[in-house]
Symmetry: C2
Subunit: 196 residues, 2 copies
DNA sequence: TCCCGACGTTAACACCGTTAGCATTGTTAA
DNA sequence: TTAACAATGCTAACGGTGTTAACGTCGGGA
């Protein structure tokens, strides 16, 4: 026989072409530029062919999301095995995490649904500056009255905000509003405050 | 005269109707369900009327983003003034931040571009579990070899991950890849590790 | 040789954001 | 009072999107 095997192989090949073309478009012009029609154009097949390989557009994106998590896990694992001590591992893995996010920006944005919407206009807006001022003021005071008066207020503000946003958005992605979120929040914030 | 004033008022009124209708749609069906056509339908005007009040769809979203940041700032300010001591303020503001994010989910998602994409499918996927396992392992070891052997590994893992993601995504939104990001990361992670 | 099933196509449906062009209407000036 | 004008809101279209139904064609098995 071997005929159905060959067909299977050819089918897989087209699947690969679809993902390849999709990735090329996303990398060059961002995820918002990705469309089924452009993929079809690029691989020189008609549109329904794509639906023979993927249920819908979301399934294509899900495939890249899976790839992204796999890549990140691999990199973290490499970093981890390169360090003997657990605390060293955590420091180094944080670095690797950061590097992955910015080297593979397209992947990371897809993985965590960073749409990057109207923020463009609001950045550096008075509203945002007001928000920053409120937080920064408390942090400045806490530093002044604490054991590390030389600490950088601006840096600490960003750390504080990042912790808050990280916890909230991870919890939102998980979508299960379990009470663990509150615990994580208190844990992280109390840890942060001790560092002031 | 007063005629042009009346016209101005009527114009403002339609602007209000647009925002009201848009908010109703977003609240009931999410931002992805919001379209110019549906707003026009809802307010019983034709489509171009909307473009007389907003340059484009993004401008409508930007208006809500501004509102969101203003609301959050107000709430944080209230919380802040209710507490005399800076460290108390930071604890309470974190709580307020959390509450705002989940009470005003639609606002928060818009403000930070949380698209919530293909994550649906990847949640609880083996890829994600693998990632969790790698991080959790190091954290468990660090806890075991540290001064707080009773700490909850799972909680600490979420805290660790949230810190990483928060820093990365705030930095990505700001889009200026300044070296401060690295500092924030190291600062937050070293603080976290001390808490293990 | 005939039939069947798989593959790939065209063409459509129902949406989307955006804009050009037109009609109507209320206001102002002659 | 009437003519000109500016503002208002409309229809209709353009070019795009994801998705699918219906059709043709062609290779493999009976």
């Amino acid at each position: 026989m071997g005929i159905i095997e060959r067909r299977q192989r050819q089918k897989e090949e087209v699947r690969g072409l679809i993902l390849e073309a999709a990735w090329k478009i996303a990398r060059e012009e961002g995820w918002q530029a990705l469309s089924i029609r452009r993929i079809a154009d690029s691989i020189e097949y008609s549109i329904p062919v794509i639906y023979a390989h993927f249920a819908n557009k979301e399934a294509i994106l899900a495939e890249f999301t899976r790839q992204g998590f796999t890549m990140l896990a691999e990199r973290l694992n490499e970093t981890k095995t390169a360090h003997p001590e657990a605390r060293q591992q955590l420091e180094a893995m944080a670095q690797t995490y950061w590097e992955f996010a910015f080297e593979q920006k397209e992947y990371y944005q897809l993985m965590f649904g960073l749409g990057i919407p109207a923020c463009e206009a609001v950045r550096n807006s008075p509203e945002l500056q007001h928000l920053s001022a409120i937080m920064t003021d408390s942090i400045g005071q806490a530093i002044a009255g604490g054991p590390y008066p030389g600490a950088d207020t601006f840096l600490k503000f960003h750390t504080y905000w990042s912790i808050l946003h990280g916890i909230v958005s991870i919890q939102m992605i998980k979508q299960d509003s379990d009470p663990l979120g509150q615990l994580i929040l208190r844990d992280a914030v109390s840890g942060f405050i001790k560092s002031l």
